[in-house]
Amino acid sequence: MADYIWLIPLFPALGFIINSAFGGRLSKTLVAWVACLALFAAFLSSLAVFVEFLQLPAAARVFERDIYAWIASGELSVNIGFRLDPLSVIMCLVVTGVGFLIHVYSVGYMHDDPGFKRFFLYLNLFVFMMLLLVTGNSLLLMFVGWEGVGLCSYLLIGFWYEKDSAADAGKKAFIVNRVGDFGFLIGVFFLFVSLGVQGVWTMNIGEVSRNAHLLSVPVVTVITLLLFVGAVGKSAQIPLYVWLPDAMEGPTPVSSLIHAATMVTAGVYMIARLNILFSMAPDTLYVVAVIGVLTAFFAASIGFAQYDIKKVLAYSTISQLGFMFVAMGVGAYAAGIFHLMTHAFFKGLLFLGAGSVMHAMSGELDLRNMGGLRKKTPITYWTFFIACLAIAGIPGFSGFFSKDEILWKAFSSSHGDLWIWLLGAVTAGMTAFYMFRLLFSTFHGECRASEEVKHHIHESPRVMTIPLMILAVLSLVGGYVGVPHLLGGDNAIEQFLAPVFGPATQAKAAVNFDIVASAWAASGGGGHEAAMELTLMVTSVLIALIGIALAYLYYVKNPSLPDRFTARFAGLFRWVHNKYFVDEFYEMLFVRGTLKAGAFLLKVADGWIIEGAVNGTAALVKRAGERIRKAQTGYVQEYAFGIILGAILVVGYLIVIPMF
């Protein structure tokens, strides 16, 4: 299998090519089959590699193959090649597995849409680009995938392009991503040059990792900060998160696949992949953790006051991504990837469930018009419930293990900090609250929809509910690969990922600047550590239960409480409901300025300078012609005079001048 790892990205690419070339002539069913089969084949290939990995010793779990010499220019030599190690194989499994389930779901969800074939075309292209991103063995190939998923995101967000809001949202996503990509690219160039002056000219990730120690800490700090800017854009952190809520204009399967499970996790993956560099720059790691936790808290607070179910889930995604970045920032890379995986399961499920709700409610999005769907759409309800339990971090579900690991590492790691843990724990409680607010408002209580909508409420077809059920099972058991030592497990996922992150943990241990942690270590961590971990675990579960209880109180027991709350704190509510007016602020600061600059350039640079040069030349020629035309008087004798004059001059030049 090692020689065929290029098959994994190949299958979705083939699906894209076949559907784009022949899709017009094929039937809708056939197009869907091609797309889903492509994904399934990719999933099986990833599974084959995974199984093969399990049979190999830990040190040998790296497959790298170059398949084409892409750039050979002087010192720069880049090959198109793929690298599979434990990190990328987990990512491949998540992308292809969850992707396959979402493809199947889309067959039902997009059934009546006129753009059905185009949808699967873009979906396959997206999976191909995402696989390029995670399996590419050079920074340039990763960037190709990075940009490719951005492109597909734009195409899919603006899928219903006749709607102005969808087209604008696609544009916004692409432009904001661009800002991040700019930083990323500068970082890559800087890395390339910095290594180059040390004598190592390479873009290959493996070689970069091996030679990273040649760089000095300030250089690495700058590089990693720039790379992190890219991650901020792609993974929707402060200040570049504004595109993600607007991206909900796209079809719900798109929101599920791209903006929950896969594309937005690209930033997290990138940091994990380049963990050697990041571990050498503790300042950057601190920045990452701070931004992560602030984003988590900020987005969770906005989620409190949104009524659109997809927007609530969008802000929840931003918040959970913040958690993943916290994990990266405190050096717990394995925990971050673990949370990425479980998040793909339950957030993907939540979005698909929202789609199922919209399908049942004839396209209704506002949760104030929902309610009481529990009896009418049982499968959707129960899967949604399981996902909410997972995201809230209730023990036994997948989210509990991953989130808890992050919070524990935030507290105890040498890069971590007490306030990071505190804010993270509070955010976890807020997450529980607003997710259950969503659940209760949508499924419990009286149905607040109109009569016509109530009449049409029905459970979704099997092609949509089966992926829901599969994802629910995964949300339930997916956490058991990471059971911590405390609870008797051996944290299989952390062990599996150890070869990728191993050297990093050594670097982490070398830098020890946190007072609490060092005092902690000094007082003989050992047994106390286990007790601390248990305490923190219990605390976070309690906070989650409190959140759920509050949500129950506000939305089931006493539904008038929310309205009284918003009435009393009207100002605060207005602020939060309008997302703290960040979009308006950006509009005023950046958008208007750019438009004004554009108008100015149009008037001056284009209008005066360029048009002036062109028109001016024409006018010059015209006026010169008018003046010269006066020599043509029409009198032949004057022409003869001209000839004789010329003759005199020529003769003079030829004969008279040489004489002197």
Partner: protein
């Protein structure tokens, strides 16, 4: 005293006649008078050609120029009813002084340049194969004829075509519709 040889006197006389006649030709108001003075100039030049041992050209000059071309011009003058000379149209101004000044300047410069060129440059080049003695022995016309039908046959034929074109063209242009 070869300055005052017969050839010299004839040459000086013809030259003066030529110059005087041409000046008169260029300044007469009546075009018939100009044409007549032109004929005088041509005759003077024919004499000079004779002095230069170009008998054929001298005769051709009289026949073609003085005979054919000037006749043509005289006929045309008759055709356009100019035989009485230009009537000065009342409103038309005389040529301004500036023009006359420029003309004088041009005369001087042009003449001076040609003179200088003639004075200070030697005629370089390979000598030909027809020294005067040989030509005299063979005969001027015969030599020219031999050259025309020998070395310069092609230009000769082209010239004949040119004449044909000229004849046809003249008739076509001047025909009354």
């Amino acid at each position: 005293m070869d300055v005052i040889s017969f050839k010299g006197i004839v040459f000086i006389a013809s030259a003066l006649v030529a110059v005087a006649a041409s000046v008169l030709m260029a300044t007469r108001r009546n075009p018939i008078h100009s044409a007549l003075w032109m004929i005088v100039t041509f005759f003077a030049m024919a004499v000079i050609y004779l002095l230069l041992n170009a008998q054929f050209i001298a005769v051709a000059q009289v026949m073609v120029y003085a005979g054919a071309i000037m006749m043509l011009i005289l006929f045309v003058i008759m055709l356009v009813h100019m035989e009485k000379g230009e009537e000065t149209v009342p409103g038309q101004a005389r040529r301004p002084k500036k023009t006359k000044l420029i003309a004088a300047l041009i005369t001087v410069i042009l003449c001076g340049e040609i003179l200088l060129g003639a004075l200070f440059y030697n005629m370089t080049g390979r000598g030909g194969e027809h020294p005067a003695a040989l030509v005299d022995a063979v005969g001027n016309v015969k030599t020219v004829g031999a050259l025309l039908y020998g070395q310069y046959l092609f230009p000769f034929e082209i010239a004949s075509i040119l004449l044909l074109v000229g004849i046809v063209g003249a008739v076509v242009i001047a025909k009354r519709k």
